[in-house]
């Protein structure tokens, strides 16, 4: 299937380019369909391709030695991933996995260099994309380094316990993130950490506080 020119027009990398230029770029782009849960980029491996998501969603994440996952970003249609190693020549800094059926547009590293040489205005677009990415990652670093998010999430849970099953207040991870002043991804990880500590149990749409004292300890409340 041919790469859709209309879609390429909407990709920030190629913003402002005309149909003739996009036509020539499209010849260097290949399609790749991946299934749910398929990992398309592995952390630490050499980087061969830059990818744009054409449809579906991809999560970009780091995995700790203990197997814990930290999502860095969710890449949606029109957005790219694996940009950094394509430009600095280093290994993939993170892994990328399909969250459902995904169609990708890929460009070989060498072909990306050709595109740059032939279409210099793209450089400014790429700077914009990478600058946005840096801003987002700086914000995540701030969350993970300086903020005791787990204790704040613990406090939010403690303060929002409902009295009767089915009648208590409900909170989404997005709402908890807004309350804790952090990213939704960090809340997800905090909930998992609280579960591992034995303070709570995630039971589908319920968060059950199983050890009130442990939760209070994490909150920083002296017992």
């Amino acid at each position: 299937m041919a790469v859709q020119l209309e879609f390429l027009k909407g990709i920030p990398y190629f913003s402002g380019l005309g149909s003739v230029e996009l036509e020539s770029i499209s010849k260097l782009i290949f399609e790749k369909a991946i299934d749910r849960a398929e990992t398309v980029v592995f952390e630490g491996e050499p980087a061969a391709y830059l990818y744009f998501v054409a449809s579906g969603a991809v999560k970009v994440f780091k995995t700790s030695a203990e197997g814990k996952e930290q999502i860095l970003s969710i890449v949606r249609p029109g957005e790219s991933f694996n940009d950094v190693p394509i430009f600095d020549g280093g290994p993939n800094p993170a892994s990328a996995r399909a969250m459902g059926p995904v169609l990708l547009y890929g460009v070989k590293r060498n072909d990306m260099e050709t595109i740059f040489r032939n279409h210099p205005p793209i450089a400014l677009n790429v700077i914009n994309v990478l600058a946005r990415r840096v801003r987002q990652l700086v914000s995540l670093v701030e969350d993970l380094s300086f903020r005791h998010v787990i204790s704040r999430v613990a406090r939010i849970l403690f303060e929002h316990v409902g009295g009767e099953v089915g009648r208590g207040p409900r909170l989404t991870q997005q709402e908890m993130a807004a309350m804790a002043g952090t990213a939704r991804e960090v809340v997800g990880r905090s909930l998992k950490a609280l579960e591992e500590e034995g303070a709570i149990k995630l039971d589908r749409h319920r968060i059950i506080i199983t050890d009130k004292e442990a939760l209070q300890k994490i909150m920083g409340v002296p017992s």
Binding site: M99, T172, H205
Partner: protein, 68 residues
């Protein structure tokens, strides 16, 4: 009736990203709007909420204290 994620039809732009990430086929586009199909397999992974750009889908948690 099983608890399911909630759709705000005013916010849904029908992009379908949530349908793609749903592992239990609990979501479908009907008349250009995402609609929930009740599914016992929905394990509240919250991926649908995570991918939604417009905040149209939410997976709220009820917080309860375990009875001692």
């Amino acid at each position: 009736m099983i608890e399911m994620p909630i759709i705000d039809v005013q916010k849904c732009d029908g992009c379908g990203l949530c349908i793609g990430v749903c592992r239990c086929n609990a979501l479908a586009i009907i008349d250009r709007i995402v609609t929930i199909i009740e599914s016992m397999e929905c394990d509240w992974c919250t991926d649908c909420e995570g991918v939604c750009r417009t905040g149209a889908i939410s997976c709220p948690f009820e917080i309860i204290m375990q009875e001692s």
